[in-house]
Symmetry: C5
Subunit: 255 residues, 5 copies
């Protein structure tokens, strides 16, 4: 039996066991419509990231390569291996566009892959993530699975049933961290976290929310037992991203 | 000619030639709806397994990795190589998510793969299991084929004709153990077992049944000539799983 | 140029240039409905095979492995590399479930693969058999192509036109032996055999026939110039299989 | 930069820069209906080929292997890597059934592959021929691309526009020789040949034509600037194939 | 972390940081209908290219191989790895027909691949370009991504939203140079260029335009901040291509 100890990298992308990731893969997933005059320049957000108390930045290979000098020594890199545009609407699928080996060469401290559970193409994504998990183990690299219920068979992707199933799928597939939707409710989310067992749970971000509601959710999420959050637009679409991130860090790290 | 002797591992996962496996792959196949407050925590069931007179536990890679320390020295591991959720209903197919090599690295004593015979995608599963069988032989690892008639062409998946065909398929594909449905009738199941020839036959579990009926079936199954059973919900959904498992062990091992 | 001489194995699976194979792959292709109380046990037929004057037995990997000790020293093994059940009816296709390398490791003296010419998936089977032929040449192993016209475009799979085309396909694809349908008529079958050129032609079996008609066909087939026959049900579904096989051997070997 | 010089093999399959190939892949593409009592035997045509002033014979792997001794020392071999039957009518596609490596082992002096430009599966054929071209360069083996406009989008496969496009496709894909339809007109065909640039152009054969028309076309084709012809049925379906081939050689080699 | 410095090749295919490529892949993409009596001969355009102040010529493998001696010492080679004809209209897809390794062997200074963002087959192209990007990094070869919004879901492929998204996709996928449509408007195109971040932006060509409009666009494109242009028909469909190219060079290099 081969022992695989991912502790070194798990510590690198966390603080006190908690994860706070800046999500910045929207350029591919949503396109420039998410950006304004400042955020359209990747350098702006990437430079900001070095001033935040985050434990990692989520990037696609292009930004990780072209802006490496701006962040690589200061911010751990969670490299997302899959991506697609939002231009077309077919049954959800996540093509792999970066190999684990390539991620390692870019200095990644963890890799991520999105599984759309319940999609008609779920089986293809399971095959892909199966190989990614195996390769990540060889490199002792944490695996983050974005586990989202989606596809025409999914009526309510954020219901307790859907989210709890998605969390469990991440555990069963070998994820170290499950990035899932928040159910919107502290109690049900606590159950979701139990379903994920020893797989750490962090919440995925979403579109811009009013500040008060956003921080309230963050507190509930962490109180429900989550291990952290991945946030993008709710940070960098604000006027003072550093301040928002700082407040969020206080909630996540509970300091 | 290359001789492949799987005796060492076959002995490890049996007792007196009989197999008693605790099935615990439902977290992926069915989702958390199978669990209650206790069973939602994988550790609860996995720890229980070390106190049962079972000859193996069936797990997906995620649990096998994350809970290895809890069971690996005490309970043989049957690693299931395929998995899917029950969220979508397309023609049945089993994506492979774990390689035989990876299973070996996790300390598996046997590997399992599900074939949905009669599915329109049967041919793809046959190709996959063909390679798994070859690789398992190289590692001298027993192969368990879950052989279930399923798909829109299958009218009655538990009829004698369906089950007997499924059993024979497992033999022809090189399985060491066929995990199949019980026909519900001792006599017909004895014929099913003959159709499987030198491939050992064990029955698959199912949803919770009344205790009396469950044990009656277990006795009939073993009397019909089966080599064992794989049981999940009928054990760990009960209040006293250890007691149920003990009674079942008595039936299976005939002691 | 690399010379590939398959003479050693071709001699092993023939007698006086004639082939007489016992077909026993029905357990996968048709299921247990082909069997009765005796034949349901693979050992019964396999043991019988050692007492027949046959030049080979056709088996799937499962039987070849599990019953190796019963026949491997006495009966040459023609290992069938593909297989499917008859449970579903889609456009015909032959998934490969055993590699040539694995066949060699099992002690095979020849390998077989089924091509459904005229199927919409013909192109996939041609790609597969192309690689099998190449690998079989490397191992100097004869290749038997089951060449059957089938699919919704095929009106009459046993017409002279269909069978002659199928025979030629086997030759063009590099088969050493073409296993094809009998046209039912000595004269037309003689033309079929010419179309196959230096590829040996043997006939495929079929469901149980009255003895007289069966032997009459066998004589016509051999008189038409065939190199042999592969027979299954017409032998082992009879009360006295040894006797039938003996009579057939007399016809095939012309002794 | 790696220099690849295919001169040796290009000279071997030509005479004075002109190509005259005997096409004999019809057994697979059309089936035995192209043959009569004599031509049904591959040996007849292959033996004839050794007596013709041709610069190559086009064969599938099966005939190349089984009849090697009959021609390999006297007639250069153009091995066709793809093939299909005419039994089914789906959107045209060319499965590869022989590898370049295998062709080399059979003593091939050039390899051929068919691209159906305009087919809905054009993209798959382009991927396949891309790899074949790369491998053929490694072996310094000329690549002949059969470039035929075909598929439900193609209204007139022999129009100037279609044929000129097909010729250019062969050049762009890296063919050394484009085997294309004759437009039926010397002037337009001269334009087609220009579109192919430094890729040599030879014409594909077709069904039997009256002798006078056939030779007139041959003269026009060569006068238009073609580098040769590949002819099958118009030679071996005649009573005196040697005589026809001789006359054609005179036209092609202009001697 | 592995550092990949593509500076050497990036300098080779630029002048003062600007790119001026002669596009000559139309023979495959559009067919001979783009050509006249002069341009039908690839040698004519390729020879002209050596007399232009361009920083690279875009070719498919066929022309790069067959006309290598005409340009390889004088003009940098941007090898296009994908191609298709315009004969059929299915959901857009780019089959890869040349490997990066093969491009290197042909002396390529950069490689190109076309991504049709928004196509139903976008995911397949993302997988392909993911591997190309990885391989190109190994060879320190610049990657040009043709990033075109296309497919039945795309209403307006040249709108600001479409083009900006396409530009960002190229950056995120790891392109060094994005070859995109011009929005037709200097101000919006400046925003597009910002969305591409550190990925250089060049414009794709198009059908022949009136000279005045063409040069006006070129000036606007360069003033908007583009890094260059790839032009084909607007150069070589003119009577005096050298003169047009010279004028364009003056605009692009701003000398």
């Amino acid at each position: 039996m081969k022992r695989v100890d991912k502790t070194v990298k798990m510590k690198k992308i966390s603080k006190g066991g908690k994860f706070f990731f800046l999500a910045f893969d929207q350029g591919l997933e949503h396109g420039p419509s998410d950006f304004d005059e400042k955020t359209i320049d990747p350098e702006y957000i990437i430079d900001l990231s070095t001033k935040m108390r985050i434990t990692g930045i989520i990037l696609q290979k292009g930004l990780a390569q072209k802006y490496s000098e701006n962040f690589i020594k200061n911010v751990p890199l969670i490299l997302k291996l899959n991506g697609k545009t939002s231009m077309t609407k077919t049954e959800p699928f996540s093509p792999q566009i970066t190999s684990v080996k390539e991620a390692v060469e870019m200095g990644a401290d963890a890799v991520g892959y999105t599984v759309y559970v319940g999609s008609e193409r779920e089986n293809e994504m399971f095959e892909i993530v199966g190989k990614i998990e195996e390769e990540a183990r060889d490199y002792k690299l944490p695996l983050v699975i974005w586990s989202y219920p989606r596809g025409h068979a999914i009526k309510n992707p954020k219901s307790f049933e859907s989210v709890a199933y998605a969390a469990r799928v991440a555990l069963e597939l070998g994820a170290d961290i499950a990035k899932i939707h928040y159910t919107g409710d502290k109690n049900s989310f606590n159950e979701v976290i139990k379903a994920a067992g020893r797989c750490k749970v962090i919440t995925a971000g979403g579109p811009l929310e009013p500040l008060e509601a956003f921080f309230k959710d963050a507190e509930d999420i962490m109180n429900a037992g989550a291990s952290g959050m991945a946030v993008g637009r709710n940070i960098w679409q604000h006027d003072d991203p550093i301040k928002i991130a700082d407040k969020l860090a206080t909630i996540i790290f509970d300091d």
